[in-house]
Symmetry: C2
Subunit: 117 residues, 2 copies
Amino acid sequence: MKINTNSKIFASEVQMEGAINVRMKILIGPEDGSGNIIMRHFFVAPGGNTPFHQHNYEHVIKVERGRGIAVDEKGNEHEISEGQSLFVRPGDLHQFKNPNKSDFEFLCIIPNPEKIV
Amino acid sequence: MKINTNSKIFASEVQMEGAINVRMKILIGPEDGSGNIIMRHFFVAPGGNTPFHQHNYEHVIKVERGRGIAVDEKGNEHEISEGQSLFVRPGDLHQFKNPNKSDFEFLCIIPNPEKIV
């Protein structure tokens, strides 16, 4: 059993093109021995957003704090907040935005992309 | 994109032998289209516990509310609380207990056991 403490994990700025004011921590990943599932914690600052993008693996998401906007594969916007969970299918376009004045945080769990053929 | 709301999902009593006062919700699973990753929300009431058990798939865990005890593969107890995440390796014995007076809640993410050969 490996136990990590969120406050001791460094948050790095997400460098992906189109990402604005988004930081990310890997809560559990390959360095903890997890070869199949990676759990990341995203922090979207007020005014920030992830890119509108897609990839060949799914997202399992849980809102941890605040509220924000999830943009779906058709470009439709949905307000989401603490207590909501989301599934983004492999290949579906998606984006997360924070138009509010307080932080918007969510967990985003993915399969290990290196294992996807 | 599929969006679920925690408060609208029914929590069922965990029937596994040795489980006491533990309820569980599936936040994202096969019914949402997620074939690889299942995200469950566990509620361990005061005095409750999961069984001390093991299985051939891993657990990725994040404490969502309160605090409790994680028992590791050697039987050692670790106090865990909100902000902590855990990885339980496939095959490792583990247990979660709530000796406190308020609810202890955690997310427990697993690969789809039907996909494990």
